[in-house]
């Protein structure tokens, strides 16, 4: 147990001493701010029809706890995942693998660490809730138990599930990188919806506990429900909501049993990956395929299996029997490195084409044949669907390369090539070539819908297509340069894409949402301008990094 706690605490410290953690905590403060909005405001995050509760400790606690449960289920996963790949990358895992620490012990430590990170965010959420209750001023009576209880009963079990899920993704080779981020998005969204229905297994997110309690309070106060629906999620109301007094969540034994069952389930789920977790053994995993720093790898090219003996002479060991073989005559060295000297004097020349080709190689060479097959299928579908469905086909075409786009601006850092490139001349040409490679990828994958727009003489569609083709790589490059990793773009782009799929015109960057055949979203010129701003932003970030190196 002591080892487990030490492992969890060390991991927790490592994570919390990064700038990204401070950003995440700020996000928690922002979430609380959204959950307890200005009393006169029309944005709400939890309401029953046109009603909301008076901002008492119980209500503020419940609304922030539920918002936290919802957000941490989806977004918290992205915060905590990566603990095991990080141990691989930093080689700490190799050290741990040589200790008596068992697989289950290691996973339990990581589970605990994940939980601590999310719990610390929840604590910030709770403290902010207190401040907001006082700030909003509807009730100045602080009741710590009423405020904290929803976090313990509603939020904490969800954190445990999220923490366990992150371990599943971290230990499964196919899911430990970007694909896992995408899959979680499509798993967590419907799961979050399902977890809010009445009689969700083990109480789900806990929404129904709060909803039932609030319905009962409103009924007791004689307020007209008229089919008013309880909802959690950011919403804009026509009028500021009417308030009612909610006495707070009555925590029953059955409720506690359900929530404890959820925590127990999470604990079990967290330990299941011990069945396949390779314990950093390259022979059992795909870890070896990851880029490794050159200096930390085994020295030199493989030589004969010579072992030192006390006398100093090497012996050859028969791999079958393990017995020493007669030492043959010393073979001449196969290595002939560093003989002679290059004679060609390099001269400067035009490089743009080769830079773009190089960047395209970096982007596309990691794509598997399956990826290309998928892209081809989407392209053929784009050519075959009725003309009205072409915008939908474009949506499909432009989600498929998300993992490739997400490398823009980040790949050099992820692969450790920045340590070389930072001493190279020309920040701008590199970055522009990287962007152009991203644009080529957009155009390639969106070629079939473009052809359909052209055939249909849909000028608006073509213009919107162009905006999309430019803005996606621009966004990827800007977020990649900013975060120095692919995850931020993956999450941001998925979220925007999802909003467009759901017909939210304000976010339509590719002309998929149409009213009466006309583009309902921003004008393509706005999108193209945005692409320019993002590209300039990426350039600024990269330049500043060089200036303040």
């Amino acid at each position: 147990m002591r080892v487990l706690v030490a492992l969890a605490v060390a991991d927790f410290r490592e994570r919390t001493r990064r700038l990204a953690y401070a950003v995440v905590l700020l996000a928690a403060v922002g979430l609380a701010w959204l959950a307890v909005p200005d009393p006169e405001g029309r944005w709400v995050i939890m309401n029953i029809g046109t009603y909301r509760g008076v901002y008492t400790s119980a209500y503020v606690g419940a609304v922030t706890a539920l918002a936290g449960a919802l957000w941490f289920l989806i977004g918290g996963f992205y915060v905590v995942r990566g603990a095991i790949p990080r141990d691989e990358q930093t080689r700490v895992g190799h050290l741990l693998a040589t200790t008596p620490l068992s697989r289950t012990g290691y996973l339990a430590g990581k589970f605990l660490s994940n939980l601590m990170v999310l719990a610390s965010m929840t604590a910030v959420l709770a403290v902010t809730a207190v401040v907001l209750q006082l700030l909003r001023g509807e009730s100045r009576t602080l009741n710590p138990v009423d405020l904290v209880a929803p976090f313990v009963v509603l939020t904490f079990p969800v954190l445990a599930i999220t923490s366990a899920a992150a371990l599943w993704f971290d230990t499964t080779s196919r899911l430990r990188a970007g694909l896992g981020n995408i899959i979680w998005f499509f798993v967590a969204l419907p799961a979050a919806t399902a977890a809010q229905v009445t009689h969700a297994p083990l109480g789900g997110l806990g929404t129904s506990y709060v909803a039932d309690s609030m319905y009962a309070a409103m009924t007791a106060q004689g307020l007209a429900l008229d089919g008013a629906e309880f909802s959690v999620g950011l919403m804009y109301l026509d009028h500021p909501p009417t308030t009612f007094h909610w006495p707070g969540l009555e925590i029953t034994g059955g409720m506690l049993l359900e929530r404890m069952g959820m925590v127990l389930l999470a604990c079990v789920l967290a330990l299941v990956p011990a069945a396949w977790f390779g314990r950093f053994d390259p022979a059992r995993t795909r870890y070896q395929e990851a880029a490794q720093p050159a200096s930390s790898s085994p020295a030199g090219a493989a030589g004969p299996a010579g072992l030192p003996t006390p006398g100093g002479s090497p012996v050859l060991i028969d791999p079958g029997t393990g017995l020493a073989l007669d030492m043959p005559q010393q073979a001449p060295s196969q290595s002939a490195s560093f003989q002679g000297r290059p004679r060609t004097v390099p001269v400067p020349g035009w490089r743009t084409g080769r830079l773009i080709t190089g960047e395209l190689r970096i982007l596309l060479k990691s794509a598997s044949p399956w990826w290309w097959a998928g892209a081809a299928t989407i392209a053929v579908t784009g050519l075959a669907v009725p003309v009205d469905n072409v915008p939908g086909a474009l949506l499909a075409a432009w989600i498929w390369p998300i993992l490739l786009w997400s490398r823009l601006g980040a790949q050099r850092v992820v692969d450790g090539v920045d340590t070389l490139l930072d001493a190279y001349p020309g920040v701008r040409p590199q970055l522009v070539a990287e962007w152009m490679a991203g644009v080529v990828l957009s155009m390639l994958t969106g070629a079939a819908p473009l052809l359909r727009f052209l055939i249909a003489q849909d000028g608006a569609g073509v213009a919107a297509w162009l905006g999309g083709a430019l803005v996606i790589p621009s966004l990827a490059l800007a977020l990649g340069a900013l975060s120095r990793g692919p995850r931020l773009f993956q999450i941001a782009y998925l979220s925007v894409w999802y909003l467009v799929v759901n017909g939210i015109a304000a976010f339509d960057y590719l002309g998929a949402v149409r009213h009466d055949g006309r583009l309902a979203g921003p004008h393509p010129l706005i999108i193209i301008s945005l692409a320019g701003v993002l590209l300039a932003g990426a350039l600024l970030i990269r330049t500043l990094r060089h200036v303040y190196r």
Binding site: A290, R341, P346, R351, K365, G416, V417, L420, D422
Partner: protein
Amino acid sequence: MLELLGVTKVYRGGKRAVDEVTMRLGTGLVGLLGPNGAGKSSLMRITATITRPTSGRLLFEGADVVAAPNRLRRVLGYLPQDFGVYPHLTGREFLTYLAAVKGLSASSARRRIDELLALVNLTEAAKRPLRTYSGGMLRRVGIAQALLNDPRVLIVDEPTAGLDPEERIRFRDLLSDLAGDRLVLLSTHIVSDIESVATEIAILARGRLYCHTTPEGLLESTRGWVWQAEVNVNDIAELRTRFRVSRAMRTASGVRVRLLSPTPPFPGAVPVPPDLEDAYLKVIHAPHPHAAATEGVRR
């Protein structure tokens, strides 16, 4: 060619990695020696334009490198201690990409890459993805990329890590050959890496430059300090508390020790000519000399 004037690097949290280092470097191979954590890599990163010094100036042919690094970068070859590669590219594709980033013409880059691949013995492996390379092969790719533009300033940080013994020797010879008409700055904590090839030696400890001189000058400053004696094995621990023991080797009759002392350490000890390891130990365990005196040591 390259001047470091009072270069200091203080990291966040107050860690002073490089402290008022002043050096003037010209053509030749300069070996930068120092124990682990001495600030060698920080100084190399500053010199390679990757890290900005907190204070001090870095000049290349009189021009300020900190404000305008591209002038140096165009003629710079840099091999860091740790670096990564794009794992899905082949060795040739990776070098072709880096040659384009360095601004080399297509035809000269192609010929140069062919020659460099042959030089680092990777011609046969050039079409394989880099993810399949061993550590030593990746290190050789790193060496090839540092030489792509035939750099006038070549900075190599612990370059022999990952090379086999035969490669180490030949790589040292190559650096010595290259240093004939350019500046090669080689950082290492292994004295034998530079003892036969360095034209100058700089010793860094605790972020400060302790000495910048020629190998001969360094040996000269240690002359009369190195003693050898046969002692009883039980006396070694006590000896280590009184003297800096540079080597101890078991013999049939006890232990042959080599130690540093300005005067005869004990009866029976005989003076022996110093080597660079002795000189290095003497320097890093001495109090830091005054900055002006440090510069003055250089011949």
